[in-house]
């Protein structure tokens, strides 16, 4: 098995403001599920490498809620949401809000597929309420930030 089969895949839907991330893991669904639902384990991988993640609340069951904070250069960034549906080893449906933009909310669906031989495919979809929101979401991966990214795009488009 080559590592290339593990590479994260991103799909951006042109019809609805949705991003889909697909990734396979060398662990059975029960383990992958637990790494998502145990706050101690979750905190170990969710935040970027140079940040610290503190989980304030994590009631991972249908109807529960969560809040965690990532700390980067002394700045705290809060994220929170509700667990809408939690089905062990199969599915987590939850909302996700960055507290810096409290009106914005993404609906996230994490689907675990048993591939056999102790392997799992994780499909994570994030649906937001506008294309601009979705694109900001994707563009947030840029170090220069969304605004600057759009400015650069405007410049490029103005020249073409």
């Amino acid at each position: 098995m080559t590592t290339s089969t593990h590479e994260t895949r991103i799909d951006v839907d042109p019809e609805v403001p949705l991003v889909r991330i697909t990734r396979e893991f060398d662990a059975p669904p029960a383990k992958v599920f637990r790494a998502h639902t145990d706050p101690e384990l979750f905190a170990q991988w969710v935040g970027p490498r140079d940040t610290e993640t503190r989980v304030d609340a994590f009631d991972c069951r249908t109807g529960g809620s969560y809040r965690f904070v990532t700390i980067s250069d002394g700045e705290e960034y809060g994220f929170r949401g509700c667990f809408h549906e939690v089905r062990p080893d199969e599915l987590i449906v939850q909302t996700f809000t960055f507290e810096g933009d409290p009106d914005g909310v993404a609906l996230e669906k994490l689907l675990l597929e048993d591939l056999g031989d102790g392997r799992t495919r994780l499909t994570s979809t994030s649906l937001v309420d506008s294309f601009a929101g979705r694109d900001a979401f994707v563009a947030s991966g840029m170090e220069v930030g969304v605004r600057e990214g759009y400015e650069r795009l405007d410049e490029v488009l103005a020249r073409s």
Partner: protein, 125 residues
């Protein structure tokens, strides 16, 4: 169709014929007639595809030249690819950390854990 620039590019590239046209224009500029040749569609249909690519800022056509060759705006394409690639890399890094966490977990810890305060998902209803 969504009005913001990124969505226009995503929508433009969602179509396989337009993706193919972009790939061919990455090699060299071409006229509408040249672009239409390999496809079993009318020049009008190709022109329609080109308009979508043009609106997204992905291609341009010189106004004065008679042949009006179509030119790929590689910079716009690169910018989009960069955005998505960085987002993908961020997700990949996160999942590599998850790989490490999964490796560190004992095999029998997958279901319940006596010290776990939240009993995630494990509570019988």
């Amino acid at each position: 169709m969504a009005a913001d620039p990124l969505s226009r590019v995503f929508a433009a590239l969602a179509d396989p014929t337009r993706r193919d046209m972009v790939a061919r224009l990455a090699v060299t500029d071409a006229t509408v007639g040249e672009l239409a040749e390999p496809y079993d569609v009318s020049v009008q249909a190709v022109s329609k595809h080109l308009r979508v690519l043009e609106d997204a800022g992905l291609v341009s056509r010189s106004r004065d030249a008679q042949r009006r060759p179509v030119h790929l705006e590689a910079e716009v394409l690169d910018l989009m690819t960069t955005w998505i690639e960085r987002y993908r890399r961020q997700a990949e890094e996160r999942y590599r950390r998850l790989d490490d966490v999964l490796r560190s977990m004992p095999d029998d810890a997958s279901r319940t854990h006596p010290t776990d305060a939240t009993h995630p998902g494990g509570n019988p209803s």
